[in-house]
Symmetry: C2
């Protein structure tokens, strides 16, 4: 051995001085070896109550904060979960994140959230960053990814969850609901309510399988019902209140015969209802309006909004549960978990 080690005082001569205490300091203070301190923190059952207490009080009085970076390197477990969502300024995904948090925080996992801005290359970069940090599991939004992402994740050997959609061929496991079925159900519902001239306002479909499947679901339902599929009855736009208002105006200018509009997101539907207020159009008298999300505002709006409740909080909870069991060594169950949806009928239709 060239340098003194073991129980001798560590060399402080080079590098920036260590700011915080290390496990060894606690061990000395408690009169035990370093491993015993490690056990008290990670496997308390393996340590006798007497020494455990001695160590714990040493930890407390020294204000010791274990170094999880070093711990992760040694244990090959980072206790972080990477989550990629399209945008954080969207309360719908926030509910999913909340569900996830509620489950995994009990097991001391932390979420690291990245937003892809609906850009598949950005998604790949985030995936790489999370793998680089040795995330114990990864969660992606949607089932559409680029080659880089797929190659990275195939080799990753950690649990991967896709969410907010369904596919027969997930990377690992997908937890969500059928955007196609949800949208077609609503269109069918409007038909059953007697509406025959149904407009549609949806999201931008590029790189977004959720909005694309909603549009396809609507169109398929029109087909099945024997209704005409008219391009002028469809508006695509970003999801915000103002765009919903604009989209409604455009639809009714082009197609005054419309008696109902299905918005593939509540935020568009709410914007549309506001536009009706401004124009003095009665809802649903002049035009019925339906949404999709059952966001928190839907029930409070005047009139309350007919919409589709999607299990956004439960998606998080379910992924959290599946993930914890996987991380505890339990083998993967179903590869596709469909949490369904519910049509909520309110006064706007």
């Amino acid at each position: 051995m060239k340098t003194p080690k073991g129980t001798t005082t560590p060399d402080e001569s080079k590098r920036p001085a260590r700011s915080s205490k290390r496990m060894m300091d606690i061990a000395k203070a408690a009169g035990v070896s370093l491993v015993t301190v490690s056990r008290v923190l990670n496997h308390p059952g393996q340590v006798s109550p007497r020494t455990r207490e001695r160590v714990q009080s040493a930890i407390a009085s020294a204000n010791y904060v274990p170094d999880l970076v070093a711990g992760s390197l040694a244990s090959r477990r980072s206790k972080i979960i990477g989550v990629i969502i399209p945008t954080i300024t969207n309360s719908l995904f926030a509910d999913t994140i909340q569900g996830l948090t509620d489950v995994v925080e009990k097991a001391d996992y932390k979420l690291v959230i990245g937003s892809s801005r609906y850009d598949l290359d950005a998604e790949a970069n985030l995936a790489r960053a999370f793998l680089s940090r040795r995330a114990d599991a990864l969660i992606l939004t949607g089932v559409t990814h680029n080659e880089t992402t797929l190659k990275l994740l195939m080799n990753a050997d950690i649990p991967i969850f896709e969410m907010w959609a369904l596919t027969d061929n997930p990377i690992d496991t997908v937890v969500g609901f059928s955007n196609f079925e949800a949208a077609s159900s609503m269109t069918r519902f409007l038909y059953e309510e007697g509406y025959r001239n149904i407009g549609f306002m949806g999201g931008l479909t590029e790189n977004n399988d959720r909005t694309m499947m909603r549009e396809k679901g609507h169109i398929a339902a029109l087909h099945d019902l024997g209704l005409p599929v008219l391009p002028e009855r469809i508006e695509r736009t970003v999801f915000d209140f103002h765009s919903g208002a604009q989209a409604l105006k455009h639809l009714l200018q082009r197609c005054p015969e419309l008696d109902a509009v299905f918005a593939a997101s509540d935020v568009l539907a709410v914007g549309a209802v506001f536009e009706c207020h401004r124009q003095g159009w009665s809802v649903p008298g002049r035009i019925a309006i339906a949404g999709l999300d059952d966001s928190i505002i839907a029930a409070e709006l005047v009139p309350p909004l007919t919409t589709i409740r999607i299990p956004r909080y439960d998606i998080g909870v379910r992924i959290g549960e599946e993930m914890l069991s996987r991380l505890n060594g339990i083998p993967r169950g179903q590869r596709q978990i469909d949490l369904g949806f519910t049509i909520i009928e309110r006064a706007s239709t």
Copy 2:
């Protein structure tokens, strides 16, 4: 030496097999030493263009993902920033997070977000968890913290930012606006508009300095204006649409003489406006309603909402900028950064 090391093949006999390649594998493939690979990744300028390219192509073809955990241990830099917000299901904080992200992601920092649920003990636990992960900097919401948090952070020796409020005595640096001044300005504004019987609906003030200062600001303004301070004109509630509606009903039942209501959060104001629609009360004819936030819905609401624009995105940006300069070794500037607020007059008053 007891175990073979260096350029020999690593021992694969014990422990779970290493899933991914290491820097050493790349070095061998490129015919250079391990350090050179490290330099190509971290200080490319120090490597000659020729070898740099050789290494880079080796990295690319091996699909190598560097281990940032090991890197962090060696460099004492984690490249993560801990952020504690009261709740993630609140788009106001999401805007701040977005601002932060937009700035720090360019420098490859990742945010780790924890929600305290307005619980100061939970905040302390999150702070400890972030320190344990060797976060390079920490961001807290508000300026009220418990003893544990303060002790931890005083010893932390990393940049600490408090936000969404102001104080003369920050832990390190505070970036925000005066909730007190914002609220009192709005109350004064309503007075100037001719309203004399002003109700107030605010948030729960326990452990929440932002809502508390808003209430105090309102009351102080009433005092200054010579208006009576009547407890029955004040409602405290959680921030959601339904509570805003309820609060308005209660206020007008108790105090039918009210001609204006100031809601210390837009979500309450919007809920109140909805209640007016349901009851057939004209806004601002029967009752004027003002909010605080200038949330995305405020301008779209019918009638558009008079409110206070607060710099929630800019708070994130500014903290990000200050933080990056600190992390690059530039000394701390102002300890208190006031980003102000703006009253936005619309048709609801």
